[in-house]
Symmetry: C2
Subunit: 498 residues, 2 copies
Amino acid sequence: MPKEEINNLALRRALFYPAAEIYSNAPGGFWEFADAGEKIRRKIVDLWRKELVEKEGFIEISGAQILPEDVFKASGHIASFSDPVVQCKKCSSLHRADSLLSEKTKEVVPESLATTELDRMIKAHGIECPKCKGKDFAEVKKFNMMMKVDIGATGNQVSYLRPETCQSIFLDFKRIYRTMANSLPLGIAQAGSSFRNEIAPRNTLLRQREFGQMEIEIFFNPHRINEIENFSEIENFKLNLFLLKEKGVKKISCKEAAEKKIVSGKLVAYFLARAQQFYSKLNIPDEKMRFRQLAKDERAFYASETWDFEVETDLGWIELMACNYRTDHDLKGHGKQSKQDMVVTDNNEKVLPHVFELSAGIDRAFYVALDLAFKKEKRGPEERIFLNLPARISPYLAGIFPLVKKDGLLEKAMEIFRQLNSFDFDVLFEEKASIGKRYAKIDEIGVPFAITIDYDSLKDNSVTLRERNSMQQKRVKIDSLPEILWHLKTGKKSFEQA
Amino acid sequence: MPKEEINNLALRRALFYPAAEIYSNAPGGFWEFADAGEKIRRKIVDLWRKELVEKEGFIEISGAQILPEDVFKASGHIASFSDPVVQCKKCSSLHRADSLLSEKTKEVVPESLATTELDRMIKAHGIECPKCKGKDFAEVKKFNMMMKVDIGATGNQVSYLRPETCQSIFLDFKRIYRTMANSLPLGIAQAGSSFRNEIAPRNTLLRQREFGQMEIEIFFNPHRINEIENFSEIENFKLNLFLLKEKGVKKISCKEAAEKKIVSGKLVAYFLARAQQFYSKLNIPDEKMRFRQLAKDERAFYASETWDFEVETDLGWIELMACNYRTDHDLKGHGKQSKQDMVVTDNNEKVLPHVFELSAGIDRAFYVALDLAFKKEKRGPEERIFLNLPARISPYLAGIFPLVKKDGLLEKAMEIFRQLNSFDFDVLFEEKASIGKRYAKIDEIGVPFAITIDYDSLKDNSVTLRERNSMQQKRVKIDSLPEILWHLKTGKKSFEQA
């Protein structure tokens, strides 16, 4: 779906919009989410928590967003977390060298290339400054993307906003292992914001300076990468793998992927499967999803194996999750820098755990969910827009609408709203505007059901239940609403069965 | 309950612990929350959302944590958000002047006092440096507590980490009013982190450098402060008011408080009542809560009226929520600085809305909830610790325990875990350690129920349901578990009735 349609809908319903937008000089790359936008985004995190964290018996943390400099010395971010930047000598504007090159050559230009190689390519391809068309550039420089914050009254405790949520997980590993696990594998998860001083934030939510991540780090014994509980549950599940030397996606079972060493081991195959299953629940069609294998020079500096989970949209293939085999890179780094012993005992063996990571973007999943859910349909002379969001991530489960505000209908509707609210359902009460406009509003923000209270409701204690996609309506008893909604919410029954 | 007990429990169960604790030089004032700690903290926010945001039909946002300098010029934080700092001339250590004085005099020393007055008081009271006992101090200086972040490749877009979550709400007001409300009063809420470069972070979660806030800004027409829907619902509700010139708390009805102008109007009384009701749901006893009226020199620079909601603990009275009448301070400031018109039409009247704010601390509510829930009881020769947390904020609703791991009990228990998980219950599966140790663990983290699967379960399809506080047990059918748990969770039935 064209991005203009999403952006229009986003602004019209305040799903998302630029931060500090009333200030014309506010820096780009910061966004706000309101009401339905905030709720959909939050529910994607809830679904992730349920499907990928709680079902696996993993432990979730919520850590500080500011961490001391030593952490990023140890992690390698001080040395290696940088973009290649080039300045136009004529107009002084700054650009990412790799972006300029890939726009010109239409090929992936790894950001990890040496600056001298980038200098050479800029000359060879006759790159022009996008601003002034000049062709004279200064030498490419590495620009560290972390945001610095000085802590303490004298500002002497140099710290950084975290560029990824996972670093707290590595820092907390020992305490959590000791107090809660005492065995491997151990999964620790965190959802929250990360911060990168992008030179060119763009595509609204797809490249921001502050963005949401939901990351899971699975600590395991590298000698036991093929010993994973529940592997039998997914061994025949087909992964959509886009291998390095192939031209398209191959559907390969987890068993085959592990046995043929297409992935490093059963543990990796298992979690790729679980990730693919999770994204299916966001209604991403199977033919639009793939795990792309990354070549060495495309991978992050800490990864020995990377599978990028990507989804096809109007904007091309968008990466939603990087699945990285980080080896013992982080625990080793922190162990050395902090002089702490990170070795644990697993199965009577002293081992420095390895880490397999599922690093997902919250805002990207949110954006893609909107993109795929957006539907426009002709209804006679009129057009209807609705978001076909699954109930699990819809902002509200149902709208509660009194047909009119008088004759006791408002009070009756409020009574129903409060009862459903007390049963923990997300319900939206709306009494303003015509009933048609109220339906149109909840269609546009993806609410799957509407409950309308009319004059008959006062007589027969029943209401009209409307389903968003089909616009079908049925009459149901008010007393049965909690149970019906519970079944609809948890998917135990369909609208037809309700 | 002594704070050592909480801190021990917190470290033992990883409820909370210092950020980057493996680095001995990590700055103080940053904390991590894991597993049960993370969940209890998140559920307090969920309860706030349900009780104070959704029930009122308010709109929630999630905004950028970094905002440009102009925002804080407009809000007054650049000019006024500072602490008085004094340096010992002998040992060079820095201290908060107001804290040194209030520790010595045992009286509240407003941080807003002029620096010259603080200089005079330091001499008059013969204040000693807490570090070196020196008595020679440099002049008191104002130290701005905001954390600066430079954005952009040349770092020229000076920005700050927000010192309060509400500023995004003021920035977003116009878009939300236009797209979603078009009438006053309008409530907008946000929960998230705020950042203050405290000189002396202390008392674990009570004074941090990064801390959680849940704030609600209610925009209203100042001429209609006494027109509030649903006032009749709380008019006889008694507020615990600790008035400026009184020695103790008076229980005053909302009606009386509004009519006698003890508060600025019915709107203020209504939301004080709703706040007090919310904190009751965290099990805070009525006799331990009060709204303390703040004198002019104690109030924040933007407030014309402030009621601090405080709770009595072992550490004294702790402020959980500041209820501030911010007038049109913020909208006026942003309108002027951004050159945008913030006036809206309410009831055919052009008006610059006033704001009444409920500004609550997440971590403080979490800490106080633990403090009040902590119970230690003698059971024969042994001692039992449990957290008497209400089900709404307990980390899990129930633990699912197979009595042993063999003979099919593990599988049966896993089946029950998955079924309850699919019904959206927060359940904890635990198969390790003795059943006694597993009960002890969930008691300590405040899980209200345990479901134990034993050999009889395989025969009669029933399990043992145990209640935390009474340790009573009853036998229930596996099939009826979803309904029983639903009633227990939403408070529709008690354990006895279940």
